[in-house]
Structure formats: structure tokens, C-alpha cells
């Protein structure tokens, strides 16, 4: 079976111009560096990591809003990066995105109904009546009352807008959904509904999710696999269980360690990561994480660590994997 989404050796740099017309020079930000992963149909890959490490950029490349500098993106066996024109447009139906910003991505002049109906109209899915029905169904599914059909995004709260974005992504029944912080603005009860919905849909339609999130508990609930990114690279990748239970990379460990308490009594001063976060514009030689890594040694400042398999399906990029392998019991202690 061809995987729903296959990303190979994806790289993206941004040349940020400094000063008007770049007269003060350019700064090249390496936002994504040689990233590869595969998401099978009916599976969910969670992308987690440092803020600014390139998750959104990957998502944007996957839906082809950004053109990668290198690498390929294959959707259901078809190279997405090669398509253009009408073929590309048609193919877009298979890959939809929930945007990180629930307001900027909604046209302020369109009613909620028109927003959700847009992919249906564009991809010619169903006649007007079917579309009306489908939009209403989607509103129900994401928990938006039908009275909101005529509302403009301006008149909705953050969570309501986010649900609108989700409904739109679901509308065309795509094969792959890139969900960029799709549930961040939702309260826990709605979030539960949405997460269940996503799972149900996956079961029903076989949709694959590329799920970008900072909320590790959500990731653990929803994802099958997880990829941890740091400064544009994947530093650890593996089945959710394996990664949560036995994180191999020190950054992953720090992430898991930093999950907030679930009860006020459990508050404590966590061991926050110290050290400078290096700039994506001036990556250090060797391991990008070494500036903050408690285990860093000489080799880390010389050679970038390769992604090596730790155990079945679980790989990490660290020179000190074995020294570091610990069997922390997961999230809460």
C-alpha cells in the first residue's frame, strides 16, 4: 500500500532580507533541514518540538504553500512537488490543512457557511443542496451551533474560529490533514469532542494526520508515531509509546519533563533547560542541541549526530544515546 504522505529529505531556507531591499545583506534561516518521514493511511504522525523549529514550515510545504529547496513530498504515490496548474489544484483536495492561526486564515468577509463550503465548491463536491447538508453536518461535528452559519469570523471567539478551520479542512474528505496546533485554542471539553471526531474520521475514512502540537498529552492520545524536531531537524522519531516511555534524545527528555503539572500540589520547579537557543540563522557546527544539552561533549561540537535506530522503529540523533537511555516512566512522576 502506498503511504498517504511521504516526505523525503525536505529542506527549506528563508532568505530574510535585512534592511530595505536587502541592502544590509541577507540572513539565511535554515528552517527545515533534511527531514524525512512517512505517514500511512489511517495513521497519525505527531510533529512536536521547539517553537520556531520549522513545524509549520513543513506543514506549509506539505500542502504546497511553500516550495521546498530540496526534497520531495509524495501524496498517495504522486509527487506533489511536481504538479502544477489544474492537476495541482485537484490534488489539493487530498491534502488539507488546519492553520495555526485561527483568525488570519479566515476571510473576514465570508460567512462561516461560505468558509466551510469553499472546498466543496472548489472541488465540485456535490450539488448545492448536498453541500448545504454537508456544511451543516460539519458544524454539528465540530460543535458549532447552526446559528453560526451566517456569522462572520469577527463575531466568533478564538475557539469557535478554530473549529471553523477544522470543519473546513475536513470538508473535502482529504487523504491527509495537516493539523497545525489544531486544538490549541479549544477548551478541554470541546477538545475532547474534536479529538474523538478526528479519531472517528480516521477510522471511517482512513485519513492520515500530520499532527503538529505542543500538547504532549494530546499527542500521546492521538498519535501513532511521533517526530521530535529541534532547529529544523528531526532529532527523534518513533512509535508514540516508545518515545514517551523511553525518550532517547536529551531534548525529548526535557520536553517530557516540562509538561505542566496536572494538579496544583504537584507544582515544582522543573529543571528548565538552560543555555542559549542557537539562532536558526547561525547554526552551531556539530549537534544543534549541544548549547543546551547537559550531556554535551567534544564530539558534539564537531560532528552532527546521525539519526540512528535505538530500537525497532525508534531512532534518535544523539552521540550519547546509550549513555542517556533512561527509562523514565513517562510524563508524570
Amino acid at each position: 500500500m502506498t503511504p498517504a504522505l511521504e516526505v523525503a529529505h525536505l529542506s527549506k531556507t528563508f532568505a530574510a532580507r535585512r534592511g530595505p531591499f536587502g541592502l544590509l545583506g541577507r540572513r539565511v534561516v535554515r528552517a527545515v533541514e533534511d527531514v524525512s518521514f512517512t505517514v500511512e493511511a489511517s495513521r497519525t504522525l505527531a510533529l512536536v518540538g521547539e517553537s520556531g523549529c520549522g513545524k509549520t514550515t513543513i506543514g506549509r510545504m506539505v500542502v504546497r504553500l511553500a516550495i521546498p529547496n530540496a526534497g520531495s513530498i509524495t501524496v498517495e504515490g504522486e509527487d506533489f512537488t511536481r504538479l502544477s496548474g489544474e492537476a495541482l489544484r485537484r490534488k489539493r483536495q487530498r491534502v488539507q490543512m488546519v492553520f495555526q492561526d485561527p483568525f488570519a486564515c479566515l476571510n473576514a468577509r465570508m460567512t462561516a457557511e461560505a468558509i466551510v463550503a469553499e472546498p466543496l465548491v472548489n472541488f465540485g463536491l456535490g450539488d448545492a443542496a448536498t453541500r448545504r447538508r454537508r456544511v451543516r453536518q460539519l458544524f454539528d461535528q465540530v460543535g458549532l451551533p447552526q446559528t453560526f452559519l451566517d456569522r462572520l469570523p469577527h463575531h466568533m471567539s478564538g475557539g469557535q474560529r478554530q473549529r471553523l478551520g477544522i470543519a473546513r479542512a475536513l470538508a473535502a474528505k482529504p487523504a491527509v490533514i495537516v493539523a497545525d496546533e489544531a486544538v490549541a485554542a479549544l477548551d478541554v471539553s470541546i477538545r475532547s469532542q474534536i479529538l474523538n471526531l478526528l479519531k472517528d474520521l480516521q477510522r471511517e475514512t482512513g485519513v492520515a494526520y500530520l499532527f503538529i502540537s505542543h500538547d504532549l498529552s494530546v499527542v500521546r492520545y492521538l498519535a501513532d508515531e511521533i517526530a521530535v524536531m529541534y532547529l529544523g531537524r528531526i532529532v527523534e522519531k518513533g512509535p508514540v509509546r516508545s518515545v514517551f516511555d523511553t525518550p532517547a534524545h536529551p531534548y525529548t527528555q526535557a520536553l517530557i519533563g516540562a509538561i505542566p503539572a496536572s494538579h496544583p500540589r504537584e507544582r515544582r520547579r522543573r529543571a528548565l533547560l538552560d543555555g542559549e537557543v542557537p539562532s536558526a540563522a547561525a547554526l552551531p557546527i556539530g549537534c544543534p542541541f549541544r548549547t543546551r544539552c547537559p550531556l554535551a561533549t567534544d564530539i558534539c561540537s564537531r560532528e552532527p549526530p546521525p539519526l540512528v535506530t535505538v530500537r525497532h522503529g525508534h531512532a534518535a540523533a544523539c552521540h550519547h544515546i546509550h549513555a542517556n537511555e533512561m527509562t523514565t516512566g513517562g510524563t508524570t512522576t
Binding site: 532580507r17 530595505p20 531591499f21 536587502g22 541592502l23 483568525f103 473576514a108 469577527h154
Partner: protein
């Protein structure tokens, strides 16, 4: 970006060539010929024919175009068919008043219109908004000669502050020049104020509802600062566009104003030359205007990037 600018400058060559050829063609279509005008009302047909020959106007169109192009490439724009004065000299004589008038007008217009537009967007039901609207309607619908007449009547004939007409060249002192152009500049800027203020208002209304304006308020910035620093800059692209368009049009000459105030500018030179079919002058002028438009448009496009970093070409 530098590459972009260079590209645009290079692109000016085909643009100007196309304009040159097109104008040549247009002129050949236009009835009436300069020989007839030169000969005057009483001339007989043979006399006209003889003049036409002496001006080489009897040559085929293509031949004339090629000859003209050849001369032009060597920097020779020819002589006026009438006065015999070199076209370049004629244009140099006329460019100064036009340039000063255009600058003055646009400065007046922008300094008045932009604040008006801002305020009338910010207080859409306030007195400023209503007055601006009324002014804009008058600015759009009153021909400039009516405005000019009113100004002259009050400020020149009545109060005697400014001259009724005429232009004092820069060589006689900047103050005199500016003084002589106050009324014309105000008269033309009336329309421009209307246009710029309305565009500013429209663009600003669009921006005012953005979240970052709310952020600016949340920072406790004074309204004036919010409007100028945050709102205006985000609304600037259409405003700059209309200013650019207006400025280019002003440089292209404002015939009526120049006529009414008797200013020897490019606008009247253009109109007169067209009307008397002074081909070399018309051609050179239109090429000049094309160059101006190309330059102003390029400047405007560069300005976009300066005000809005998201814009790219």
C-alpha cells in the same frame, strides 16, 4: 531587488519604443497637417503643398519614423515645425513651472488630504468626516477653472495677496516662484485633496478593524501615534499609489490650470502642439511623459516595498 530595478529600467526601452511608434502612428491618423497651420488661414492649396514638401511631410510614414528615430537616438529631438526652436529647448523652457507646480500641489495635497482622510476614517461621523465628504464632492465635480476663478476673485482681485496669473521663474528667486504658484497649486490640489483624502479614508477604514490596531491601543499609544505609525503605514500602499498617479499626472501637465493661470508649462505645450500638429514636439513630449510615468511608477513600486515588507515582486 537591485536586479528588479535594473530589470525595470531595461523594460523601459521597449515601453518607450512602443510609445514612440504608437504616437507616430496616431499622429499620422490625425487629420490636419502642420503645413496648413503654418501657412495660415489665407494660404492657397499649392502654397500649403510647398510647405509640406519643405518640411518633408510628404515623405512616407515609415521613412519619417525611421529618420526621426535615427535623430532621436543621437539625442536630437528635432525642431518645432513652427518656431524652428529645438524641441529640447522648448521642453526645457516649459519643464520648470510644471515641475514646481507639481511638487507644490502634491505637497499641499498630501499634507492636507492624508490627515483629513485619517481623521474622517477614525471618526466616521464626525464633523471632519462630513466636511471632507462635502469637500471631496466639490473637488470631484467642480471643474478646476471654477475653483481657480473663486480663488482669484478672493485672493488676487479682492485681497490682492497673489497675482492673477503668470509665472515667476526660479531664476528670479524661489520666493517669487512660490508666490506666483500659490493659487494655481491650491486650485489643482483641491481635486487631489479630495482624491487622496477619500482613498486614505477607504484604506484606513480597512486597516482600523485589524487586531494590531487594537494592540496599539492596548499599548496605550496616543491616537495620533496609532494613526500615523500603525494605521497609516498599513494603509499606505493605496495612498502611495494614488499620490504616485497624481504626481505623474501633474508632471504630465495640467492644461486647464496652466491655461487659467497662464503658466507656461508642459500641459499647454502639449495641448498646443497637438492642436497645431507640431509633430516633433508632440513626439518628444509623449516620450518624456512615458519616461516620467515609468520613473514614477518604479519609484512607487519601490516605495511599496519600503512601507510593506511583505510585498515582493
Amino acid at each position: 531587488m537591485i536586479a528588479y530595478v535594473l530589470g525595470r529600467l531595461l523594460a523601459a526601452i521597449p515601453v518607450l519604443s512602443a510609445v514612440a511608434a504608437f504616437v507616430f502612428l496616431l499622429l499620422s491618423l490625425v487629420p490636419g497637417d502642420p503645413a496648413v497651420v503654418i501657412a495660415g488661414d489665407l494660404a492657397t492649396p499649392e502654397q500649403v503643398e510647398a510647405i509640406r514638401r519643405s518640411l518633408a511631410l510628404d515623405r512616407p510614414l515609415v521613412e519619417r519614423f525611421v529618420t526621426w528615430l535615427g535623430h532621436m537616438l543621437t539625442g536630437d529631438f528635432g525642431n518645432s515645425l513652427f518656431s524652428g526652436i529645438a524641441v529640447s529647448e522648448l521642453i526645457v523652457q516649459r519643464i520648470e513651472p510644471t515641475l514646481v507646480l507639481a511638487l507644490m500641489t502634491i505637497v499641499i495635497a498630501v499634507t492636507v488630504a492624508v490627515p483629513l482622510g485619517l481623521v474622517s476614517a477614525y471618526h466616521p461621523t464626525g464633523i471632519v468626516a462630513r466636511l471632507t465628504m462635502a469637500g471631496a464632492v466639490l473637488g470631484f465635480s467642480l471643474p478646476v477653472f471654477v475653483v481657480a476663478f473663486g480663488l482669484v476673485y478672493v485672493f488676487a482681485l479682492g485681497l490682492g495677496w497673489f497675482p492673477v496669473q503668470s509665472y515667476v521663474p526660479l531664476s528670479e528667486g524661489l520666493a517669487g516662484t512660490l508666490h506666483s504658484l500659490v493659487l494655481p497649486a491650491v486650485a489643482v490640489s483641491f481635486l487631489y485633496i479630495a482624491l487622496i483624502a477619500r482613498v486614505t479614508r477607504a484604506a484606513v477604514l480597512e486597516v482600523l478593524r485589524e487586531d494590531y490596531v487594537r494592540t496599539a491601543h492596548a499599548k496605550g499609544l496616543a491616537a495620533r501615534l496609532i494613526l500615523t505609525r500603525h494605521v497609516l503605514r498599513n494603509a499606505a500602499v493605496p495612498v502611495i499609489t494614488i499620490i504616485g498617479i497624481g504626481f505623474a499626472a501633474l508632471l504630465g501637465g495640467v492644461v486647464v490650470t496652466e491655461t487659467v493661470f497662464s503658466i507656461p508649462g508642459l500641459g499647454r505645450l502639449t495641448a498646443d502642439s497637438i492642436l497645431r500638429r507640431d509633430y516633433p514636439v508632440v513626439q518628444a513630449l509623449i516620450l518624456l511623459f512615458s519616461t516620467v510615468y515609468v520613473a514614477v511608477n518604479l519609484a512607487v513600486d519601490i516605495a511599496y516595498v519600503l512601507v510593506d515588507p511583505r510585498i515582493r515582486y
